[in-house]
Symmetry: C2
Amino acid sequence: MADSTSTKSRKRRQPDPDSTTELLFKNLLKPDSVILQTLQSLVISTASASSSKPLTLSDLSLSSSCREVTDLSLTSVQSEIEALTISIVQSILSGKGFSFNVPSRAATNQLYVPELDRIVLKDKNTLRPFANISSVRKCTITARILSLIHQLSLKGIHVTKRDLFYTDVKLFQDQTQSDAVLDDVSCMLGCTRSSLNVIAAEKGVVVGRLIFSDNGDMIDCTKMGMGGKAIPPNIDRVGDMQSDALFILLVEKDAAYMRLAEDRFYNRFPCIIVTAKGQPDVATRLFLRKMKTELKLPVLALVDSDPYGLKILSVYGCGSKNMSYDSANLTTPDIKWLGIRPSDLDKYKIPEQCRLPMTEQDIKTGKDLLEEDFVKKNPGWVEELSLMVKTKQKAEIQALSSFGFQYLSEVYLPLKLQQQDWL
Amino acid sequence: MADSTSTKSRKRRQPDPDSTTELLFKNLLKPDSVILQTLQSLVISTASASSSKPLTLSDLSLSSSCREVTDLSLTSVQSEIEALTISIVQSILSGKGFSFNVPSRAATNQLYVPELDRIVLKDKNTLRPFANISSVRKCTITARILSLIHQLSLKGIHVTKRDLFYTDVKLFQDQTQSDAVLDDVSCMLGCTRSSLNVIAAEKGVVVGRLIFSDNGDMIDCTKMGMGGKAIPPNIDRVGDMQSDALFILLVEKDAAYMRLAEDRFYNRFPCIIVTAKGQPDVATRLFLRKMKTELKLPVLALVDSDPYGLKILSVYGCGSKNMSYDSANLTTPDIKWLGIRPSDLDKYKIPEQCRLPMTEQDIKTGKDLLEEDFVKKNPGWVEELSLMVKTKQKAEIQALSSFGFQYLSEVYLPLKLQQQDWL
């Protein structure tokens, strides 16, 4: 018995065109023109949605009780720092002493705003006095970071957190300390970390129907071969985005990205394909948001069918807790969950041996996610996630390779688009 | 006292132009034209060296006792597999049974050839019979991988090791097994893994004075902004390399790469800047070798001043042990160690607090490296490494930020080039 199934499934899993399952779904495919029409409607609905001015904290009259940062020009950052310094000098001269008033970034000071569908920072502040043994170091580090940022704004160059750390190892001692204060400084000045010209290592790549300028060079992402274009670390030098794409395909994994890039999926279904190769980094999140807002395109996400796939979706969608003060600039609203969804495992007859049992940790993470607001607000997601936790099965995007290496680009994705099968 | 030094060193470490140390070295800088001349001579010597046909195993009459793989066309890979299959069928029909004769990739079968300056595989083989309980699984896996590779060669597409694994999870059980057999198959067929169209996830980026074609698209790496161009995972689709660069700058870390990219260092000193962001991946190693051989340019390496920096240099230079069978295609001979070198720490007055104490593990790794042939063959390297182990100090490239964020691109590197200070 075991044998017969194994041989049966082995035959089924042959990446051979007339494999039963592959054919089964291939036959459901309508001509591309039909699929493109379904996408057109998605684009229109998205564009109209995006054109309606997005809600802000002040619309919800939360601006008093919540805090958000914005992009500031280098000159504004300069004057902000100078103003802050002057106020401190005055405080010292007037005998009130030297201290910074720093927004608290603690979990207790964070709030998920359903109307905005993202995590924001509440308005609790903590005083950081110099004349206090417990805060004198942090106060000094804050002053030092402010002066370094001021130099960056004068020079107009970008550096990494690591560079920042090394300018005063003796004071900072280890990078976690300078990093933490850097986030404090963003909140204090009320500007994004990228406005401070401190950048994170680039990780993401983009390919497909997108033209944009990177530091003054025009980049045509349809002419980037299979490698694609590395997403620039400094979003403020990215601009002039043009595209004839119908959607943005956000891919979790490198391997799936390469498959789609080699097959030039974006030429069959005009789209922009982007991946951060796993955990979303700030540069990719900023880039995705910029594409979405400037091009007003729908974003469809292709992630593993496991709790982390959904978690990654959530970071793109409504932000990570430790950078909640910047959620407005880092998050991309209204990302659709295209696949691989727990219900796809049976729907697309993913062979049992390509599904992996969830670990205890997986199941716990899944259950925790069910409690998260960003999941709750989407009944479809709750349903899928509940199914995952119930069946205790997960699957990677690559599991589709069991139907042949190009099944993803030639059958699964086209069918998903045709059936408008996103949540 | 502690205070006075701390303030003194803090002043010295200010990224402020008239910082004493920075000036000290800035004043040594000659006009760029002079520096460019010194580079010209390096180019000429390198070109003449490269033009002399490189030694092969057969030149050393080692071809009988050592084995190497070569790049094969897809059609040759096909026929190789078909020939192998036929020979097995014959063996079965003639009653000799079903078995593969697989080159051993064990450490005992590896050899460092000083003349070639790389690790090669000796000619020991092991039999993998089907009719043996201990090898029946591996034999089956080998047959399965061969058939999958055959399909790839027919379709002419590229897949990742992960894709390969997922085509038969039940048989392979975990990816290490399919990966290992994949390397076996490379050796058996005598071709590189890239000839098998199995690619690794891309990691590296390149920017600067290089034009090349990626999958048919012409890429101009001077027009890639700050992000640079992602190095294509499939080297066989890379070609038409053109460059007016004087050297290739191989950078270990992302952060240093971004500094040089933003400052467009390659326009001041015509060069190609490439990084694998840490451990060298196969795609970047293949790309570097291709640049070196096609453009006949010197390669200067900028790595951390620690044992791992040197180890990374060695992987680019003479290969990693587990892929020694492919060292001929993966390695780039004659890489110069530009910096950060242990002797630089004092020479460039890197502040004490920017140097890190080596851990026991660091020191052990350093001592082990001193025993490695590829280090021994270069007296300069032995000297530097011995100094590192003696002083027990290491430093990252980023430590130069203590003299100002652009010290690397504006003072350190130009001075290094001017003084031809490479080993």
